[in-house]
Symmetry: C2
Subunit: 366 residues, 2 copies
Amino acid sequence: MQSRRPAEPGMTVDQVQTPAIIVDLDALEDNITFLASRVAQNPGASATPHAKAHKCVEIAQRQIAAGASRVCCQNVAEVEAMVAGGIRSVLLSNEIVAEEKARRLARSAREAKIGVCVDHPLQADILSLAAQEQSVTLNVLVEIDVGHGRCGIAPGPDAVKLAQYVTGKPGLHFAGLQAYDGAAQHLRKPDQRTAAITRAASLVRETIDLLKAAELACETVAGAGTGSYENELASGVYTELQCGSYALMDADYGRNETDRPFKNSLFVLTTVISNPLPARAVCDAGLKSLTAESGLPVVRGARGVTYVKATDEHGTLELSPDATITIGDKLRLIPGHCDPTVNLHDWLVAYRGDKVEAVWPVIRGW
Amino acid sequence: MQSRRPAEPGMTVDQVQTPAIIVDLDALEDNITFLASRVAQNPGASATPHAKAHKCVEIAQRQIAAGASRVCCQNVAEVEAMVAGGIRSVLLSNEIVAEEKARRLARSAREAKIGVCVDHPLQADILSLAAQEQSVTLNVLVEIDVGHGRCGIAPGPDAVKLAQYVTGKPGLHFAGLQAYDGAAQHLRKPDQRTAAITRAASLVRETIDLLKAAELACETVAGAGTGSYENELASGVYTELQCGSYALMDADYGRNETDRPFKNSLFVLTTVISNPLPARAVCDAGLKSLTAESGLPVVRGARGVTYVKATDEHGTLELSPDATITIGDKLRLIPGHCDPTVNLHDWLVAYRGDKVEAVWPVIRGW
């Protein structure tokens, strides 16, 4: 069921119906430009921003315009939307095993260069069949586990064996390694992140050496995120940097210690709908419009107001004596975790100053 | 952006594209019938199931067919969808302060009987203007805080004063009290829930007595949920029982001690997409298809498989040596918390046995 747009271009931000996610275009553009310029200083590396964070074709187009060589997606619906939006190179940085999804991915490869990850021969079998059926080539990265502890085959000989397997499958081209260390992204101290990525890069290097010994070229090493990307850049082995959250940012990434912070461009706009006690107010943004697994949202720009509890449709606010908000007021919340918060919404309201410039659809489904 | 349907009627459940939410119609119908029959034993009380849990017109229609006197909603988009689906009486059991939302609600009141809550004169002012503009009457419940600590004016004299204020506003009819004790729903022991609702009912009674003294009739006392509804029934003061989760159920409600359990009818269907180690597999249902604030999902019907970590698009599974799942297998997960889990999806796949019977839209937006 298509939902109602919360705003129209030309409105003021104060007229946006809540709860809604709003994106400050000045901050968004600064973040995109800043990452692009950092990556441009490192020949051999390119930005391949992750669209799983914003799920928005219009933001991906701006990232490509700023120099990104491709965008990453985490599901097939995102890939299809990006290709329909004119993006000519997309990596599905994830594994799929459903034949129907492989078929859809291969169809996208008729219009754009498509990469995909595997960590098991079965995935390669399914992708190979779909690629042959559509007469396309899928560019396959072997995903290795460099510390994340989720998907990914063990670095070293196992990864080489899988790369050889991929090389032997019609319709597939072995293109390199996916080596994302998600666990490193939220380590608070720079030296913790450096240690994690030093270890990851060393596992990558060992695997590349074994691939070479097996006469397999490793064109691509993909990984990195908003927390650790400076380390992957410095390592010299990563060729593609998959930062996603950097464009929007969130309260949790804001807690990382760094001398190169990105700006908060994403806010949940909410209305104070109840103020039953002097020390308590309630707003209309709860667990159905933001997520709390990485901490509660932080109130931006309202003195003495703390978001203390998220329930399904409500946020409970604690008011200190110097708080001046009242029922009917709108508040901007910095969500704890941008990716799943964006995923709760159908529309993203892009604004500059106090004016809405555009209302962009959020990619839905899988 | 309208998302792709994950299934079509006539498919087997195994053919549903994942991640998806699936609803076992036999279990759903048993839950609806069971609550209806419990309530029918108590003259003076009626079931007014909360649609915030399922966000689905087709389920609400089944609840009405089973005897519910109206359905409850938590936002205006839900109210509009229910009225468009032919439901003739709806309560918005929440406060609104936006003029645009009040206008939409009043428009719905041209086609159906509409109730709404207030806990502040400002909400009554806004609703009164909208009701006059549309030449309708809105039935207003004054929400009192009987233990939940969220919205709701204090029971007693403050509530009576607000009821008097509502009575004086054109276009509004004071219809009674909203007295939901959300905090009581998840108390694990029956005697804890009994104590909480005994206290809530006593606050309601005191307020009713004061209303009577002020010559205000209190036709309706609304509240109760899946955890505590037997207590509200027993209290004799509640006339409307707003249970929502009972139809679908979830892992958290499953942890309540009760001799009248509802059945799990809601599952997140997921596929094992990776199995990098003998003791670890990864499925495609993470924080974008289920929520974890009330605990991780519980795996139904697969020996030795435990869901141990939710990340954005992935669920990490721990496999004990007797586990027999393999890459490509589908699993059914009982989500920790049904309401925000349903809210993540656009479609709800209704099945009976192993056959998909229907694919229902989930109401989106606010």
